[in-house]
Symmetry: C2
Subunit: 343 residues, 2 copies
DNA sequence: AAATGAAATGGTAGCGCTGTCTTTTAGGCC
DNA sequence: GGCCTAAAAGACAGCGCTACCATTTCATTT
């Protein structure tokens, strides 16, 4: 594989064109629209590029064409497995397209989100995916000026910036609490950690469900701004038991907390569901194989990521979806941990 | 905020320079080396940029300067929480620097890795982080030509492409098995899933430890190429029990499998550790709060990501680390699940 | 006051590619 | 064979920025 030395030492498209004995622009077309070349030239360019080991320069392409093939993605956490699933959907969908993903981690801070948005601005992304509907005023302003399709994911709400894919966390929280009420539980606790906007809406759903049944009591609620762990689930549950020993059931705002509660119950020899019902949120894989299997609220996280990319890429290509707001819903996975003792 | 209309409709550095009444290059320097400007001009450029809402164009910058501030990262999985931790380290470290991360998901395929490497080539990244030491020949060749600092992470081994941060999975597997042997367990099973190169090296460590103690028996081994889940842990354990009912202990190649084994034992009323000892791998957070707490091998995943970025960025800036291969080690976290019944 | 050198500023030429428009060639029809 | 149309190929300018080198400014030294 002999190397042509050019001024800069890099192999440029011009070198390929020269070797293939075609014009620069014809070589360029080979990469953007090979069908436009005659068979002979197509083959010549192809073999010349291969022979020289030509690698296109994306920066030059972006500058000349005034567009990129980058989709910026902003998520609040990398460790939370909820977002791993969303990301997997995003990366899976992007692989089928010509777009690549630029990921930013906001760590649940809307200020960090704003900062990352400014970085994205410099990249001129072709599309954008952001988490949630609680952006700062400045972030909203930036989004408005970015002039590219934008999807807000994880939840749906009023006043979308552009497109939305998610579900109602309020409804999901309401459904979880209602399920426990329907099973005949009366004193239903709430365990919450890292009270981000979506968690708070689940909480609001829980509160309203209990109030509607005249079962609401602030003594049943334990929350902390700390981030979630399994161990924390045990700790919070211990706090809840201390402040409301008569508690019958507990709705955990995510599955890690629920697992922590399960372990704490095992430690204290509390029977599930006979002495304590448990409902989690997200329906991570382990919930179904726990002993006993734990009830949870399943959301279509993978689908959410995938749809977001599909919608954004379609919009980039000029096919804006009919429905700009897509509700992917949720499903209450009722398992042994929340089946009524009486009823 | 009035807008200057230029030919392209975008605000360019030239517009900022014009408004600030300085030359183009002075405006450019404001962003690359503000200290080189006199106070007066610095302020004029700053306010002009702000007034116009100027956003630098990274593609143009990359093209003109012939370098980028992108660090490419290739990992095999987004759902495996091992890599979430590594990624968190990577993103945390990158935030302190001026570099941004471009992430690729290889899904444990070295062919996919090769493909993504070609994509990265087009971006001309300033540095690269790849997972493991098992690349294809072609991938190695690409890495060689990329002419930027490269860190291989997760494990260490012979023949580094450039730099390495990790630990010996063989030693860790050997240590886990040795611990069980030292506790007096004689029939020690192995549960493995998604047998990637690192898992296989852990397995080799287990095999050699048992062979050294003359305790090796292939009947004690159950593996599957399927990807890991908690549920799978239970299933594999059931298979192991079926083919070797006299098993006393089990070394699980990761913590999800170990949790599955725990649940399966609970289901079958098998006492841990009296009737069955369990050792996991990775030491995910839940291991310590399980009932009983589960023994595992802790690796410094977050540190691994962080160090990799630190080493790569230092190398980009011309400060190649003294030690090109960094062994971050591992730590056997001995908990109740593997404490000997006799001894 | 002249000489010196460092700091501050500017001019110019690309970086590698694609959009736009123009020219050439090939193909189809009477 | 001549004419028309479409396909294929090319010329050229310029995307927005920085590297490189040249020039100006100004404080300091003799």
């Amino acid at each position: 594989m002999e190397r042509k030395r050019t001024k800069s030492g890099n192999i440029r498209l011009a070198d390929v064109a020269e070797l293939a004995e075609v014009s620069l622009i014809t070589a360029s077309r080979f990469f953007s629209n090979p069908g436009a070349l005659s068979v002979g030239k197509r083959e010549r360019v192809e073999s010349a590029a291969k022979q020289l080991g030509y690698v296109p320069n994306l920066a030059a392409r972006a500058l000349a064409s005034q567009r990129t093939e980058i989709i910026g993605v902003l998520i609040p956490s990398l460790t939370n497995s909820v977002f791993s699933d969303v990301l997997r959907g995003i990366y899976d969908a992007s692989e089928g397209s010509r777009y690549s993903i630029q990921l930013g981690n906001t760590r649940y801070s809307i200020l960090q989100e704003e900062k990352l948005l400014r970085v994205f601005q410099s990249q001129r992304p072709a599309g954008l995916i952001v988490t949630g509907i609680n952006q700062t005023e400045a972030s909203r302003a930036i989004l408005q000026t970015m002039n590219c399709p934008i999807a807000q994911i994880m939840e749906i709400g009023p006043d979308p910036v552009d497109m939305m894919v998610g579900f109602s966390h309020y409804d999901a929280g309401f459904a979880a609490a209602s399920h426990l009420l329907a099973q005949g539980f009366q004193r239903i606790g709430f365990l919450g950690a890292r009270m981000d906007p979506r968690v708070q809406r689940r909480f609001a759903g829980y509160v309203d469900a209990l109030k509607a049944a005249s079962r609401f009591d602030p003594r049943y609620i334990v929350t902390t701004p700390t981030s979630t762990t399994v161990t924390l689930g045990g700790t919070l549950f211990a706090d809840l038991l201390a402040q409301a020993p008569d508690i019958e059931a507990v709705f955990c705002v995510n599955d890690d907390l629920a697992l922590g509660v399960l372990f704490e119950c095992q430690r204290r020899h509390i029977q599930i569901p006979e002495q304590m019902a448990i409902v989690g949120f997200n329906d991570l894989e382990f919930m179904a194989s726990a002993v006993p299997p734990l009830t949870s609220v399943r959301s279509n996280r993978y689908e959410m990521g995938k749809s977001a990319v599909t919608m954004v890429t379609a919009a980039i290509d000029g096919f804006r979806p009919q429905e700009l707001v897509v509700d992917l819903g949720f499903k209450l996975m009722i398992r042994h941990s929340s089946i009524a003792r009486r009823n």
